[in-house]
Symmetry: C2
Subunit: 255 residues, 2 copies
DNA sequence: CCTTAAAATGTTATATAATAACACGTGTGT
DNA sequence: ACACACGTGTTATTATATAACATTTTAAGG
């Protein structure tokens, strides 16, 4: 019985919400009343919210809170969601147990954080939402970099960030890029973030860039690294021949 | 019409939730169908969640997410909620526009953060939930201290905290106490937090301690300050004669 | 091993709330 | 003046939740 309740909970977490009918279909050997009562229990535990005809995941709901703090973030979040998901799924296995990991801010990274719910590691991040998501994993030591909160993307930045980072050793850095072009390399829109990225990349034993293909060919104001600084580039599809050749030349693996 | 929708929203934010019947009572000049439609709108804007017979505030729901990360916090949150509310309401006016403010972690502080939705100031905090709450206020510059996240109370602590604080000037520090006794002074249960409190109190121009009266007579493991270090003590009721006398002697104002 | 209490489940009737569909007025811009 | 979108009200219909009681299962103690 606890199994069922747990399954229901996990299902809701995964899908964001369910209807009673769906649950009835999935658990045909109990009555709908029992499922209702399961939902009651989960609700009293503050894990879900019952809505008419089903239930919603509290965590998903809170996520949308971050996202429309400043209008357009919600949209960006959804843009290329499929690609971001693919990228995150490719990246997750690289986060090996016991390692010290840096995770950047951004919606792709948020996806990645969601996938790192098991495994023991130390994580450092500058994104408040990523930190919250990661702190669900009881085995993760989550470190949040200090600084002023940027309402647009729920990430912190500031003078102290580099200082803070300088005290932490990083095995693998997962870094998001907003653009890549042959001339400018990997680029990003905000100066502070770039400084941090640069610093982290220099410091990390292994640098992994996550980027959906929509970013290819785009150049943002600030360059934070070039392909030769990168160990692995993860995208949601195979690279063009030109980029593949360059990668091979400079020793950047593309997944 | 937009007024009504806004009022409904504010009501929900304030109370956490409402029933349709309550709303029908409050807006007798529109039909219940209209109110339903208002709720639909607010829901599509991700401001509330409709539940059977009413609606809930998304923000309140997310708050409970933090709170039961580790079981008992939800209970503590509710304990003496009325007193905490009173304390927070007394404290809020002290946060004058333009000032640089430190806000501690804890449920009373969370209440205070909720009350500081207007006014322009710089805030520093070590509590992730407080920071999120404050970042609703567009005029507040919210600084989060870096460190490892403590799942129990969603606050950060660590080696970098004092360094970080040392670079920021504080006009007013709002500090929470878990206990007060004549022998031990103001006390608290975790060492790291105490270190930070001590540092902040030393640094701040003005120190305000927030404490509901249930804490009187209790002694926690670590002392972080004595009445003579405190400018203002805020409680949910008048102090006993003895404490009042001591306060007068050392120059601590009690509100 | 048996007994009892507590917890979990099922069943029904009843109460409650949500939805859909249509109708009406009001303002806006063409 | 017209079309049109928008907010609103009304009703009938459908769907869902609740309450109360009966039954089964589980856990705990003697």
């Amino acid at each position: 019985m606890k199994d069922r309740r747990q399954s229901i909970y996990e299902l809701i977490e995964q899908n964001g919400q369910v209807t009673l009918h769906e649950l009835e279909g999935l658990f045909p050997d109990v009555s709908s009343m029992t499922i209702r009562r399961d939902l009651d229990h989960l609700e009293t535990e503050n894990k879900i919210v019952k809505i008419k005809g089903g239930a919603k995941s509290l965590r998903h709901l809170s996520r949308s809170l971050f996202q429309d703090v400043e209008g357009d973030y919600a949209q960006r979040e959804m843009l290329h969601a499929a690609g971001k998901r693919i990228v995150a799924e490719k990246a997750a296995p690289l986060a090996e147990t016991g390692r010290s990991i840096f995770i950047d801010a951004g919606s792709t990274m948020m996806q990645l954080a969601g996938l790192l719910q098991t495994g023991r590691f130390t994580v450092v991040t500058n994104a408040v939402n990523v930190a919250l998501e990661l702190s669900r994993n009881q085995n993760a030591a989550v470190n949040l970099i200090g600084g002023e909160i940027n309402r647009r993307n729920m990430c912190v930045a500031g003078a102290g960030a580099l200082d803070y980072m300088s005290r932490i050793n990083i095995d693998i850095a997962f870094v998001a890029a907003s653009g890549y072009s042959e001339e400018a390399g990997f680029t990003n829109g905000t100066l502070y973030d770039c400084e941090l990225k640069r610093f982290v990349i220099k410091k990390a034993k292994k640098t992994v860039i996550l980027m959906d293909k929509s970013k290819l060919g785009k150049t943002m104001p600030y360059t934070f690294c070039k392909p030769e600084d990168v160990d692995v580039l993860i995208m949601d599809g195979p690279p063009e021949a030109e980029l593949a050749a360059l990668a091979k030349r400079v020793g950047m693996e593309i997944i």
